[in-house]
């Protein structure tokens, strides 16, 4: 069978704020297999952001286990977590978080600069390859201000791909985009998932977006309310083709 990329067991996360203890996650368990495309949904206050931080190895659980690609995150130091993020996770953010006044190619190269095993030549090659994968091969030298929102997000996705992570972690990756561009991004995600077998965990609050994934985990008040496979996976490409083109100007 396929490999387990992500395994969460009875995970709890508590924050101490003054005298009060806030329990953001109250014991959740799930696993994600290699090649899955999972969306995590939930309204604000559901613990979505806390879970995302933990999945992204930016934070550690208070109680419970989190195994990423067989590595127990809980035992790692701050520096080791950074290295784990560098090797195994590709982040895509809502606000793209590209470096301003820096070319697309250099933005994509960034994670590899923190990986001493990658040579300069290899770094360039992989960055070009990643930009090709998001269909921006002709935009190497463009800076973020010279790119549209959708293009910027695609550069960000290329940056997430370049270190060949075991999982792409997207945080409201379509939140800043109009619907057409959102569908374009989702089509790209689906393509990466299908053709390259990338594991994708996509955090969103839009049910529309969730319908493109294999499976939806619904969080509510710090627990998993629903964890269901999608019966009817939509193709973003088809949705895109069916969109009226009248709004083009």
């Amino acid at each position: 069978m396929s490999k387990t990329i992500l395994e969460i067991r009875e995970l709890k996360r508590e924050f101490t704020m003054g005298a009060e203890t806030v329990r953001a996650l109250k014991g959740i368990s799930f696993t994600v297999q290699a090649g899955e495309f999972v969306t995590i949904m939930g309204s604000s206050g559901s613990g979505k952001t806390t879970l995302l931080n933990i999945l992204g190895c930016l934070d550690k659980p208070s109680i419970g286990d989190y195994l990423l690609d067989g590595v127990d995150v809980k035992k790692l130091s701050r520096d080791e977590l950074a290295q784990l993020r560098n090797h195994k996770i590709g982040f895509v953010f809502q606000a793209y978080n590209l470096l301003p006044r820096t070319t697309a190619l250099e933005n994509v190269e960034l994670p590899l600069l923190y990986n001493r095993e990658v040579s300069a030549e290899e770094r360039r090659k992989r960055a070009i390859h990643a930009l090709e994968a998001v269909k921006l091969a002709d935009r190497h030298d463009h800076t973020p201000s010279q790119l549209s929102g959708g293009q910027q997000q695609r550069v960000a996705i290329a940056r997430a791909l370049v270190n060949e992570p075991v999982m792409i972690l997207a945080d409201e990756a379509t939140g800043n985009l109009d619907s057409r561009t959102s569908y374009e991004i989702m089509a790209l995600m689906q393509e990466l998932n299908k053709t390259q077998g990338k594991t994708i965990v996509f955090v969103t609050h839009e049910p529309d977006i969730a319908s493109f994934s294999h499976r939806t985990i619904l969080l509510r008040d710090g627990i998993i309310q629903k964890d269901t496979p999608n019966e009817n996976i939509r193709s973003a490409r088809k949705v895109l083709d069916n969109l009226p083109v009248t709004d083009d100007y």
Binding site: A82, Y114, N163
Partner: protein, 406 residues
């Protein structure tokens, strides 16, 4: 993260804000530039002060005879005859801190040529005396060791004597004058030295080989003075001690006996010299310090602003795998790159302005390698020192908060 990657990261970060990087650099550029220029101008004027003081013979040492009798009426040292050829030989053989040495005998008398005459004095010395007193010739040649051995009747003539014996401006070289009853051929003209500190005219003189003056005029075997020059101003004290012990031995003085001679130095000149250079050094160091500290504070200020402004960038870098250490090194590298680049430009600018000062104002400037090297090292240290605190602040950010920072 390798060192090369660190430099690439820092360079790219600086590139994104070229104007700001340059303006930050400006503080360092000005600082280093002014340090280089100031030090060069200071060194130049120090050197020229030093040269003019050395011209007075600041490392000259004078030995005079003296009384070593206790009790009774004290008599002027010059009445004693204690310095002889034996002393000169001993000093020449054993002296380590002394470079030149010359005996001296002086005769007073009338210099006569044709109908003109002039009362002056004739000093009998060794050829080395010219070096000791920093005397130079305007024309003609100096007498030699050969002339000393043969007690040759040749002399050098000072400007005042020329003015009185050759009022019509004829060339005195080759002319024969009489001093006392002895004819002397003039072979060289001394460059005028003007008065000394006590208002004595130093140009009212004839200089001849000491053997000539001793044998032909004074008929004596003693010297009135011995002049020597220390290797440099710094070893003057050692030279004095050395001369004293050599002469005591040569004069066979017992430990209980006082010196029958005196050794004097140009202490006043030396003190002036060292206090001048000391003052200049302190002044320049202070200027250098202040300007570099100001430049450094500029860097610190900008790095602080930069850390706050780039909080999200720091968050992003951390989320894609930068460790706290990597962030610290990046910001340190940025600060050091700014300060070193500023340092290089500052050095170049400083050298150019030195050339301009020399060219336009005609001031002497000396660009010392040590000042260039020093300001460079100080620059790098400034970068590290003033860059460290902001860099540390950046490295301690929490990636979660940094990513969501607005």
């Amino acid at each position: 993260m390798s060192f090369l990657n660190l430099i690439i990261i820092a360079l790219r970060a600086l590139q994104r804000n070229k104007l700001r990087a340059f303006l930050t650099m400006l503080g360092i550029i000005m600082g280093v530039g002014s340090v280089i220029a100031m030090v060069a101008i200071g060194q130049g004027s120090k050197q020229s002060i030093h040269d003019s003081l050395s011209n007075m013979g600041s490392n000259m040492i004078t030995v005079m005879p003296a009384s070593n009798l206790n009790g009774g009426v004290k008599i002027s040292g010059s009445s004693f005859q204690t310095l002889t050829d034996k002393d000169i030989i001993a000093l020449k053989q054993q002296g380590q801190y002394i470079t030149d040495i010359s005996p001296s005998v002086t005769a007073k008398g009338q210099a006569i040529i044709g109908p003109l005459n002039w009362p002056t004095s004739m000093q009998g010395v060794d050829p080395a005396y010219l070096d000791i007193r920093k005397l130079t010739l305007k024309d003609g040649i100096a007498f030699t060791e050969q002339d000393v051995q043969t007690s040759a009747k040749v002399c050098l003539i000072g400007q005042t004597v020329i003015d009185n014996l050759f009022p019509n401006g004829e060339n005195p070289i080759g002319k024969v004058i009489r001093f006392g009853n002895i004819p002397f051929q003039i072979i060289g003209i001394l460059n005028p030295k003007g008065q000394n500190a006590f208002g004595q005219d130093q140009d009212d003189i004839l200089i001849a080989p000491y053997s000539t003056v001793q044998k032909r005029i004074l008929a004596t075997i003693y010297y009135q003075n011995i002049y020597a020059s220390a290797a440099n101003e710094q070893v003057t004290d050692q030279a004095v001690t050395e001369i004293t012990s050599i002469l005591r031995e040569s004069h066979r003085l017992r430990d209980s006996e006082d010196n029958d001679f005196q050794v004097r130095t140009q202490e006043e000149l030396i003190n002036t010299l060292s206090s001048t250079s000391g003052l200049l050094t302190v002044l320049l160091t202070v200027i250098a310090g202040i300007s570099l500290v100001i430049g450094g504070i500029g860097i610190m200020n900008i790095m602080y602003v930069s850390v706050t402004e780039r909080t999200r960038e720091i968050g992003l870098r951390m989320s894609i795998g930068a460790r706290g250490k990597d962030i610290l090194l990046q910001f340190l590298a940025e600060a050091v790159l700014i300060s070193i680049t500023g340092g290089i430009i500052g050095v170049i600018l400083g050298i150019i302005s030195c050339r301009l000062v020399t060219l336009i104002l005609g001031w002497p400037t000396i660009i010392s390698e040590s000042s260039v090297l020093l300001s460079f090292v100080v620059c790098a240290l400034t970068g590290i020192f003033f860059g460290y605190y902001p860099a540390q602040k950046a490295s301690r950010l929490d990636p979660i908060e940094a990513l969501r920072y607005e």
